[in-house]
Structures are given as structure tokens and as C-alpha cells.
């Protein structure tokens, strides 16, 4: 079946066809190509595009999670949106004019406010809008306060012209997707549309990169893209764009402000940020001066702007330009500042704060759409045509009560464009997002853009929600310069491998990944042992005594710091009768700090922050483990045996995850941080258990049980047997788990490991650093201790006093190491 046979024109205006269904001039080649290849080839090309985009997702580590939620919000249609060179040059002029005008408005509103004082724009339109930031009221004339980057949504109106639909100024998105779309289309275009020549994106993107170069303060200063982080659904775009533009991708936590400037925290030290492009909305950029509850910004950012020490793209305050209430006054403002009429038409808009306009709106309500003007996001919209009489009356009284809060707009149907949907081509509405960049006094417009297509066949409006489909925008014509596309990625850096450049946020997460993983595994093993013993799992060894059970249970409370736990006087009877209640709570109660569920959720936080460092396999294992864990934690009843089985299963996941973490990243990339965290946590947890289990003199039979428990909980029973063969002796276990320098799980070994690892860090010096000193001391202590001496005890005392003292000192030294280490590397204490 010929490809356009079922194409029925819906709106008054279609991009490809005129009213007689003749193909319009700019589309002739595309239409010809599509007719000649037919549906089958089109389907193949679509599959190819899908694969390319999917592959990008993998490259940038945004893959479909186990639950099947996709992190990709766009798909790409193989049919482009075509615009002729001639029409585009007119549109370009219009966009340049509008960008220039908006920048002048922005600077004026945050300085002299001539527009308000001379009655060009009503004060109400500005002050009622949430995008007006009083915090930056006098920043407008600062050198760095400019609308550097600007996105405009366009759509073709009934008169055949491109109209401005929206201005996006505070954190314009979509450029990353536009680039991605173009690269994917380049791959299929050679076969599908061999005879079409289009303008390239190259020069615009080069200009973007040059802007960062121009703003560079010194060799070491950097430009960065501020993202809300991996939880955000458009994180992929942030990641893609930042690597394309060769700038740092950062979250608020990666940054700090001091000396009136913005700094990027790296393991090697602080780096000055000279340029910040952001995907965080105005009000969320600074919890100190803007929205106090924001976790996405950096405290002190507004003050850095006040000192004029940052090129912010775009400055806080630019949300005011996304105000629909400005529309009716743009023409006047253009006359005022530029002495020009607006080139690009806008949707006719009436501000109800004026008497005549309000009258008109009230009389013509049925033809209009009413919008509140005070917000940038989730603007309240009333489609009057579809409203009941009572609803309309209510709206009228709202308009009369606070007219200055509302505008009315004409309801317009925009043009449709051919869209390939599963073996048919149908007309859909579309809007174009274009991008402009300030270079000196003028703006450059990208020769291309992101086209968004309405997701439902007959929808008039293009939804901006995720899950939409997109098209590439093709501007026909020859590129003046010949460009080799391959070179576009040429100076894109490889991910920084030097540990100095590892971001502090990542480093801290790696450190805590080590600590939480160790905590999770150690605690799981210990609980597992206790549960198994209770169920008489090791049948051949007989029942464990009540006394040893109690010692192990109390050790669990110490280990997890879930006090009062097994020390509770109140619940003593209950706990003796049924210790499983407390054990189940220590395992599953996520609201209880120290429980396994709690530790698990802490591990989850670190895991997601490390998504782009860890291998995909480890993330997959993690997702699976998380799902299993939440199923397990939801079950309310357990027999001891099923609890043991489930814990055993979880333990296997944990170990698999640990193995993948260890082998998928290399030392310089941050494994060192993970190792340090893992060793410190393991040492601390071991000391906690040792103090509960080894420091008290007990009967031989009890001693056997608890020594076995300790060895099992560090998975060292077999290794111990290999060395000592003989039955369990307290002195031998102590020698093995604390002093033995050949056994990787002993304290002495871990201490040496830590000393080695700490030496490899960027701030390491010839002399001992503050965080190395405690480890050197611990090492000396371990060398000087003598087991026999240490285990002397008065007959009337159960505690091995010397031994307990030594363990306490060691524990303090590990904590001191961790604290000093955190201060130096994570708090940038001395910088």
C-alpha cells in the first residue's frame, strides 16, 4: 500500500501537504524517499533508531530497571520535520530578536525597572509571578548576569507562520536529546534520504564549547552542569550533554561556596567553578537564600552571584521570563528597547488587569483559554469551551476578584506533521524547541532543534510530560563549512582516571559503600549463625547452651547498636521465651537505626549515587537483591528455618554484589576509597564482637560455642582449622583473628592494608597525615601486645581487663582514622 494513502488531513494546516494534498516544496525529497522505500524499510530504520538510542542509554548507564521502568523519556521518529532554508533564516532573525529583547527585560527587571516605572509592563505582572526573585533584585547590571542560553517552543499557526508558544529561560532542557537525535538520524539518513542535504549542528555546539573556554579563569578552573541527580528522569540528557560539551557533571553536594566563589569538591582538593549551566530550577539553587528545603542546590550560590564571581547559565531570576503574562507587553517592550516590531508572532494574549481587556475577555469567554500568570510550572489552565455554565460563572467571579492574576489566550490549532506509527503514517501535532546562545551582543541560533510530537493521535496539544516521541528538525541547505562529524567527539575527554579528579561526592559514596556493605554482610552472617544455632541447624554438634546463646544475642545488640535490644530489663522474660521477635526486628525493621533493613536502605542511597561508576552487572544484581529484600522484609512471620534460608539467600546476593563491585572498578577510579571504608568498618565490627565474646572468661563448653560463632560470623572457621587443626582455644582464636599477619581478615592484616591504601591518596605526604597517625599507632600497639600477658586475669573477675582495654583503644584509633580521613577528604577541612 502506498505510504500516504491512509493519511487524512486533520487540521487546517499540514507541514507536508497543502489543502489539495499536494506535497509542499521543501518536503518533496522526503516524500519521494518514503514512497520509494515503503513500510518495510521504514520499519527497519525505526528498529535501527531504537537500537541506537537504547545503546546510548547503555553507554550512559541509563538502562531499563528490573521493574521495567524505562529511564528514557524519548523515542525518535524516522521522518524528520523539514523547514526550508529561506523560512529558517526569517525564524532565526525572529529568535535572535526575541532573545536579545528578553535579555534586556531580564537585566532591567533586576536593576532599574524602567519597564515598570514607565508603565510598559504592569508591576502586578512581575510581582505576582513566582519567577521574580527578590533575592537578586539588584543583580541586573552585573557583568555575568545575562540570559546566555535560551530555548523557544515554536509551532505553526493557522496563518502558516511559526508562532512562539513558550519561552524557556531558567534551565532550558532538550539540547542533549536534539544532539542525540541528530546523531541517530545521521546513521539512517544515508540509506533512507540519500539526496537531502541539511544544515549541521556543529558550529552551534562549537560556539557553546568556545563560550566555556572564554569564561575560563585559569588552567584549573572548570565549567560544570548542575543536575538534580540520578533520581531525575532526565538525568540521561544531563549526562549526555555534559560529556558532549566536555564539562563536569555535578550535583549540589559536589559543590561548596567560600571566598565568594563556587568550588567543585574533588578528592585532590577544591577546584574553582567559573561557569555553571544548570538543570535545577531557580528557587532550588540555594537553600540558604532561596527555597530553604531544597536539597538540589548549593548554599551560598546567590551570594557568589552577588559578588559577580560566576557565569551562571542562566542566572537565578530568569524564571520571570517564563511568565505568560509578559506576552501582551512584548510588543511594547520591543518598541521601547529596540525600536522594532516583533518578528515572530505570539498567541494573542489579553491581561485581565486592564479594564478594556477584561471586558473583552468576559464577553468572549467561550473562544478563550484562561491561565493564571503567577507560576512557571503547572500553570492552571481553563478551557472555557468545555466548561459548564456554573463553572464559567465561577471563573468569571475569579476574574473579577483578582483580574491582575489572569490572562486569556486564543485557542489555536497548530499544524500537523506526518508521523510513522506502526505500519501507518498519520498526522500529529508538533512543536519545535529551538536553542539560542549569547555570543557578545548577538545571539546564535542552532540550525536544528528538538521536535516533540503529541503522543495521542488526535491530541491538539503537545504534552511536555515524559513518554513523548520526538523528531529531528532538518533545515534544508548546504553547510558553508565542510565538517567531519566524527570529530565532534574528538576532544571529549575520557572519564577522568586520576584519583585526584574523583569527585568528593563519589569518593564519599564509595567509602560508605564499603562501610555499609561490610556492615550488611557482617551483621547478616552473625544473625544467620545465631538463628541456625537456635534451630539446632548444626545437628551434629548438638544444642547450643542457653548461656552461649545469651552471649551471642547480646553481642548482636552491641554489634548493631540497637539498644536496649537484648539488654532490655523490661522485656527480659519475653526475650528469653522468644528471642526471634527481637532478632526479626533487628533484621527487618527499617525504621530502626542499625537494623539490616536500615543498613540496606543506606546502601541503596550510596549505590544509586555510584550508578555511573559501577558496572551494569553489579547494578542489576543490586536491583534484584533489593527486590528480594523488600519481599523478604514484608513477610511478617517466619519459622527459624525459613529465616535462616532467606538470610542465606540474601547473603549470596550480597557476596555476588561485593564481588562485582570489587572487580568492576579499579583502584585509581575509587576502589581504594571502597577498600578503606570496608576495612575500617570490618575492623570496628570485629572489635565490637570480640569485646562481647572474647573478653569474658566463661566455661569451656560455652567458650567453644561462642568461639565457633565468632569464627563462623567472619567466615573463618575453615581457615582456622587449616592452621590450628586442634579444637577451639581462646588464645589461638585471638592469635588468628587479631595478630596473624598472613590472614587477610585479621586486625593486624587489615591495619597494614589500611596504611598501604592511605598512602596512595592524593593528599599523602612523606610524614604521617592526621588520618595515618592512628593507624600507625594501632599497628605499633598490635606489635607490642603479648597474648599471654594480655590474658592475665584475677580469679575473682570474669573480664580480661587488659585485653578489653587494648580492644577499646584499637576501636578508638579506627574511629579517629575514619574521622580525620573524612575531615580531610570529604569536608575539605584545611582548604
Amino acid at each position: 500500500m502506498p505510504i500516504f494513502d491512509s493519511y487524512v488531513l486533520k487540521s487546517s494546516c499540514d507541514e507536508m501537504f497543502d489543502r489539495e494534498k499536494k506535497v509542499k516544496e521543501p518536503w518533496k525529497e522526503v516524500a519521494q524517499s518514503l514512497k520509494s522505500v515503503g513500510f518495510e524499510a521504514l520499519q527497519e530504520r525505526q528498529a535501527e533508531i531504537d537500537w541506537l538510542l537504547e545503546d546510548n542509554g547503555v553507554t550512559y548507564n541509563v538502562y531499563n530497571s528490573i521493574e521495567g521502568n524505562t529511564n528514557r523519556s524519548w523515542s525518535l521518529d524516522p521522518i524528520p520535520f523539514v523547514i526550508s532554508e529561506l523560512e529558517w533564516s526569517e525564524i532565526t532573525k525572529g529568535l535572535q530578536q526575541r532573545a536579545k529583547l528578553l535579555n534586556l527585560i531580564l537585566k532591567d527587571l533586576y536593576s532599574e525597572q524602567k519597564l515598570i516605572k514607565e508603565n510598559i509592563i504592569p508591576a502586578e505582572v512581575i510581582f505576582s509571578h513566582k519567577g521574580f526573585s527578590p533575592e537578586v533584585y539588584d543583580f541586573g547590571l552585573k557583568k555575568n548576569f545575562n540570559l546566555y542560553f535560551y530555548a523557544t517552543d515554536l509551532a505553526r499557526g493557522p496563518d502558516g507562520k511559526m508562532w512562539v508558544i513558550n519561552d524557556r529561560t531558567q534551565a532550558p532542557s532538550g539540547l542533549g536529546y536534539a544532539i542525540e537525535n541528530r546523531l541517530a538520524m545521521n546513521v539512517i539518513a544515508k540509506e533512507l534520504y540519500p539526496n537531502i542535504e541539511t544544515k549541521k549542528l556543529f558550529s552551534f555546539l562549537e560556539e557553546f564549547k568556545n563560550m566555556f573556554k572564554k569564561f575560563k579563569l585559569n588552567e584549573d578552573s572548570v565549567a560544570a552542569l548542575l543536575t538534580p541527580g540520578p533520581y531525575n528522569e532526565t538525568y540521561f540528557e544531563h549526562s549526555y550533554l555534559s560529556s558532549f560539551l566536555n564539562i563536569e557533571l555535578v550535583q549540589g553536594e559536589d559543590l561548596l561556596t567560600k571566598n565568594g566563589s563556587l568550588w567543585l569538591k574533588n578528592l585532590g582538593g577544591l577546584k574553582r567553578v567559573d561557569t555553571l549551566i544548570r538543570r535545577v530550577d531557580d528557587r532550588y539553587c540555594d537553600p540558604l537564600e532561596l527555597k530553604n528545603s531544597s536539597k538540589l542546590g548549593v548554599a551560598g550560590l546567590v551570594d557568589v552571584m552577588r559578588q559577580d564571581n560566576l557565569n551562571m547559565i542562566n542566572p537565578v531570576g530568569s524564571a520571570i521570563l517564563e511568565n505568560i503574562g509578559l506576552n501582551p507587553f512584548m510588543e511594547k517592550a520591543s518598541q521601547y528597547f529596540l525600536n522594532e516590531t516583533l518578528i515572530l508572532p505570539q498567541i494573542a494574549t489579553w491581561w485581565c488587569g486592564q479594564e478594556k481587556e477584561l471586558e473583552f475577555v468576559l464577553e468572549n469567554l467561550d473562544k478563550l483559554i484562561i491561565k493564571r500568570i503567577d507560576r512557571t510550572e503547572s500553570v492552571q489552565v481553563y478551557f472555557c469551551k468545555k466548561m459548564s455554565e456554573t463553572e464559567k460563572e465561577d471563573l468569571k467571579s475569579l476574574l473579577l476578584q483578582s483580574p491582575n492574576q489572569y490572562v486569556a489566550q486564543e485557542e489555536i490549532s497548530f499544524s500537523t506533521v506526518p508521523y510513522y506509527a506502526d505500519k501507518t503514517v498519520e498526522p500529529r501535532s508538533a512543536t519545535i524547541r529551538t536553542f539560542s546562545l549569547k555570543s557578545d551582543d548577538c545571539y546564535s541560533v542552532m540550525s536544528g532543534g528538538l521536535v516533540r510530537v503529541s503522543s495521542i493521535k488526535d491530541a491538539l496539544l503537545v504534552s511536555s510530560q515524559k513518554g513523548g516521541t520526538s523528531k529531528d528538525l532538518w533545515i534544508l541547505g548546504k553547510e558553508e563549512k565542510e565538517i567531519n562529524f566524527v570529530n565532534m567527539f574528538e576532544n571529549a575527554k575520557y572519564s577522568d582516571t586520576l584519583i585526584n579528579n574523583l569527585s568528593t561526592l563519589k569518593a564519599e559514596n564509595l567509602f560508605w559503600l564499603g562501610r555499609y556493605l561490610s556492615r550488611l554482610i557482617t551483621t547478616t552472617r552473625f544473625v544467620l549463625h545465631i538463628v541456625k544455632k537456635m534451630t539446632n541447624f548444626y545437628r551434629y554438634e548438638g544444642m547450643i547452651s542457653k548461656e552461649s546463646q545469651e552471649i551471642l544475642q547480646k553481642a548482636l545488640t552491641h554489634l548493631t547498636m540497637t539498644y536496649p535490644g537484648f539488654f532490655s530489663d523490661e522485656n527480659r522474660k519475653k526475650l528469653e521465651r522468644n528471642p526471634m521477635i527481637e532478632i526479626a526486628s533487628v533484621v527487618k525493621d527499617g525504621s530502626r537505626a542499625g537494623s539490616l533493613s536500615f543498613t540496606f536502605s543506606m546502601l541503596s542511597n550510596t549505590n544509586i549515587n555510584l550508578k555511573d561508576i559501577l558496572a551494569i552487572d553489579s547494578t542489576k544484581v543490586y536491583e534484584k537483591m533489593k527486590k528480594e529484600w523488600s519481599g523478604f522484609a514484608k513477610k511478617t512471620t517466619h519459622s527459624n528455618i525459613s529465616m535462616a534460608n532467606e538470610l542465606e539467600r540474601m547473603l549470596i546476593y550480597m557476596l555476588a554484589y561485593k564481588g562485582l563491585v570489587k572487580e568492576s572498578i579499579y583502584k585509581e577510579q575509587g576502589l581504594i576509597l571502597y577498600d578503606i571504608g570496608y576495612n575500617i568498618e570490618s575492623a570496628l565490627l570485629f572489635i565490637s564482637k570480640a569485646r562481647s565474646i572474647l573478653c569474658w572468661h566463661v566455661e569451656k563448653s560455652v567458650e567453644y560455642d561462642i568461639l565457633e560463632g565468632l569464627l563462623n560470623s567472619v567466615e573463618s572457621f575453615n581457615a582456622y582449622r587449616a592452621k590450628y587443626k586442634s579444637s577451639l582455644l581462646l588464645e589461638n582464636v585471638i592469635e588468628f583473628l587479631i595478630f596473624n599477619r598472613q590472614f587477610p581478615k585479621s586486625l593486624a592484616y587489615r591495619t597494614e592494608e589500611l596504611m598501604r591504601a592511605l598512602k596512595l591518596l592524593p593528599k599523602s605526604k612523606d610524614s604521617l597525615s592526621s588520618y595515618e597517625k592512628p593507624m600507625a599507632e594501632a599497628n605499633l600497639l598490635l606489635q607490642s601486645l603479648n597474648i599471654k600477658e594480655m590474658m592475665k586475669r584475677n580469679d575473682n573477675e570474669a573480664l580480661y581487663f587488659e585485653f578489653d582495654n587494648a580492644l577499646t583503644t584499637l576501636s578508638e584509633l579506627y574511629i579517629a582514622c575514619s574521622d580525620e580521613f573524612s575531615k580531610t577528604y570529604f569536608s575539605h577541612y584545611d582548604e
Partner: protein, 322 residues
């Protein structure tokens, strides 16, 4: 009249803080009827860097970065302020004399007038005072009839708040919504001020939040103890073409010399005396000590002013770390 004001605000943190950004607003505003004779600020622990600036509402702000490990941050402002009651009395007389009716005010505000532009910042909802319900609007309209004189209407409106609402500390905090205050008819000075502002804005009048101090007197025959005062809040309404008129609904008085203005804004958030962001774990709380002392002896019996304490307000964000 000269007042000596001591205002100490302390943040207490549960765990050690090594890096904190703060903004303080403790330096009283200079006005035709209020002269700042002296001002000093003490900060403990020592400040790594600080930077002063004036905000859009004309208030003095100071940005402080602390990098020394600390578990509490204490900021003390000491001011010596001279208030000129004659100027205030004269202002009030002019306001009364030139005041216009409510409908005249609304009519004028709907037009462009250069003199009214600044006041229009205070017409709209703000962070702590969102657009109010119909019920609150109705409450305001009971005093504001079309032909009613603005000054008289506001005076009556203030009186109604004073009699309808119960002063009760502990019921509310800085986050308590105005609607809840209105329903319960309970609160402290800042609740009454914010309620009044909300109601006035709902009927189209610009209204602003006034933050400062008021002199309180001990019960007869007793000596006044140091630090028993509190920071105070009241409101001002804009009478177009005439100016801002201040009212104190907590005490049902038109401020005429006992009020010392610290600063003003759309609501409390614009003029909170201390706010900050720290990286720490655990919670924090705020304690406040305020003392207001008049230098010259009283020559006539002052207005009976209830010792109405405002609650301690904490504007602190703790960014949790593991």
C-alpha cells in the same frame, strides 16, 4: 526616647558542624523616626568570612560562613536606637487626615501610579502567606466596606483580631499556616501579623510584615529581669497616595514610640533574624534572648502592654549525611 536592645540567637546542633552558611538580620533599620546610634554584632565561634548586603526591602543582612567545628552558633546583636515619637505622632495625624475610602483605594491601585509601585510588591501571596480562603476574605470585608475610611477600617480590623484571637504561646510555630491560626483563633504576635496581612491582601490591599521589638514593663512594684523580652511583630497597610500605616494587633495599638523596627518584608521568612544551612546529622533547636531597655526614666504611665512572647523560630536546614 533611646532604647538599648540586646538580641541573642543561638542554634544548637546535635552533632558537630564543620561548615555552615548563615544569614543574620539583627541590625535595626534607619528611618526618619528611628535613628540607629550604635550597633555591634558578636558571633561565636569565629567567622571564616562574612559579607554584608542590603536586601530588596531595605533590611541589613549579613552572610556568615563558619568553618570551625562547632555545636552551637551564637549571634548577638546589640543596638542603641533613638525613636522620635513626635515624628510618629505627626505621621499618624497625616495618615488619618489624608486617608481615603476602601473603594477609592482599590480604584487607585487598579491604575498605574508611580508612587504606588513599590507597595505593589506586597499585594501577592508569599512563602508563608499563601492566598487566603474565602472565609478569611469575608472576615476582612466585615471591616472594609466600600465607603469606609481606610485608616478607620484597619483600626477596627486590628481591634477585632485583638478581641477575637487568644494570645497563646506554644500553640503555633513558624510553619503554622495562617488558615489554622484563623480556625483556632489562637497564636502569638507573628501569627496575628501574618493573619492580618493575609486578610488584607485577600481584599486587594498591600500589606507588609513588620519585625522588631517592643518595650515591656514588669508587674508593678517588681524589678525587670534581663532577657525577659521577646522579638515582636506587627503589620502595615498601604493607603494609596498617603503611605504605610502601622498597626499592632497583639496589643491593639497603633505604634507610637514603644515599637522599634528591626526590618520588614512580605512575611516572617523575609526577615528571620538567623537562618542557616549546615551539613550535619541529627536535629537542631534555637534559643533566643531579647532585652529591650529604655534609657530615660518614664515620665508618665505607659500603655498597659501584655508580656506577649513570640515563639522561638527555627529556620534551619540540616542537610543530612548518612
Amino acid at each position: 526616647m533611646i532604647y538599648n536592645i540586646y538580641h541573642k540567637t543561638v542554634f544548637h546542633y546535635q552533632s558537630m558542624v564543620t561548615f555552615s552558611h548563615n544569614i543574620t538580620r539583627l541590625k535595626p533599620k534607619e528611618l526618619p523616626h528611628q535613628k540607629l546610634l550604635n550597633f555591634s554584632m558578636e558571633i561565636e565561634p569565629s567567622v571564616y568570612e562574612s559579607h554584608a548586603f542590603i536586601d530588596m526591602y531595605g533590611n541589613s543582612n549579613k552572610h556568615l560562613l563558619i568553618r570551625e567545628p562547632h555545636q552551637s552558633l551564637a549571634v548577638t546583636g546589640k543596638s542603641r536606637v533613638e525613636v522620635f515619637p513626635q515624628i510618629i505622632v505627626e505621621n499618624i495625624r497625616k495618615l488619618k487626615e489624608n486617608s481615603i475610602t476602601y473603594s477609592e483605594a482599590i480604584e487607585r491601585l487598579s491604575k498605574f501610579n508611580l508612587e504606588d509601585l513599590d507597595a505593589k510588591q506586597f499585594l501577592f501571596e508569599s512563602e508563608l502567606i499563601p492566598t487566603s480562603s474565602k472565609a478569611i476574605q469575608q472576615y476582612a470585608l466585615e471591616s472594609f466596606h466600600n465607603e469606609r475610611d481606610m485608616f478607620e477600617a484597619t483600626n477596627e480590623f486590628m481591634g477585632r483580631i485583638f478581641y477575637d484571637f487568644e494570645f497563646l504561646s506554644g500553640f503555633s510555630d513558624v510553619t503554622t499556616p495562617v488558615e489554622k491560626i484563623f480556625k483556632a483563633k489562637k497564636g502569638v504576635c507573628q501569627d496575628f501579623a501574618q493573619f492580618a496581612i493575609s486578610a488584607l491582601r485577600s481584599i486587594g490591599l498591600p500589606a507588609k510584615y513588620m519585625s522588631g521589638y517592643i518595650e515591656t514593663l514588669p508587674p508593678e512594684g517588681q524589678e525587670k529581669f534581663f532577657g525577659v523580652d521577646a522579638s515582636h511583630a506587627w503589620f502595615a497597610v498601604y493607603i494609596p497616595n498617603v503611605g504605610w500605616a502601622e498597626f499592632d494587633p497583639t496589643n491593639n495599638i497603633i505604634p507610637n514610640g514603644q515599637h522599634i523596627l528591626l526590618g520588614e518584608g512580605r512575611d516572617y521568612a523575609d526577615i528571620a533574624p538567623l537562618k542557616g544551612v549546615v551539613q550535619s546529622s541529627g536535629s537542631s533547636y534555637l534559643s533566643v534572648i531579647v532585652d529591650v531597655k529604655r534609657e530615660e526614666p518614664l515620665n508618665k504611665s505607659p500603655l498597659e502592654i501584655q508580656k506577649n512572647q513570640s515563639q522561638s523560630q527555627s529556620q534551619m536546614q540540616i542537610q543530612t549525611q548518612w
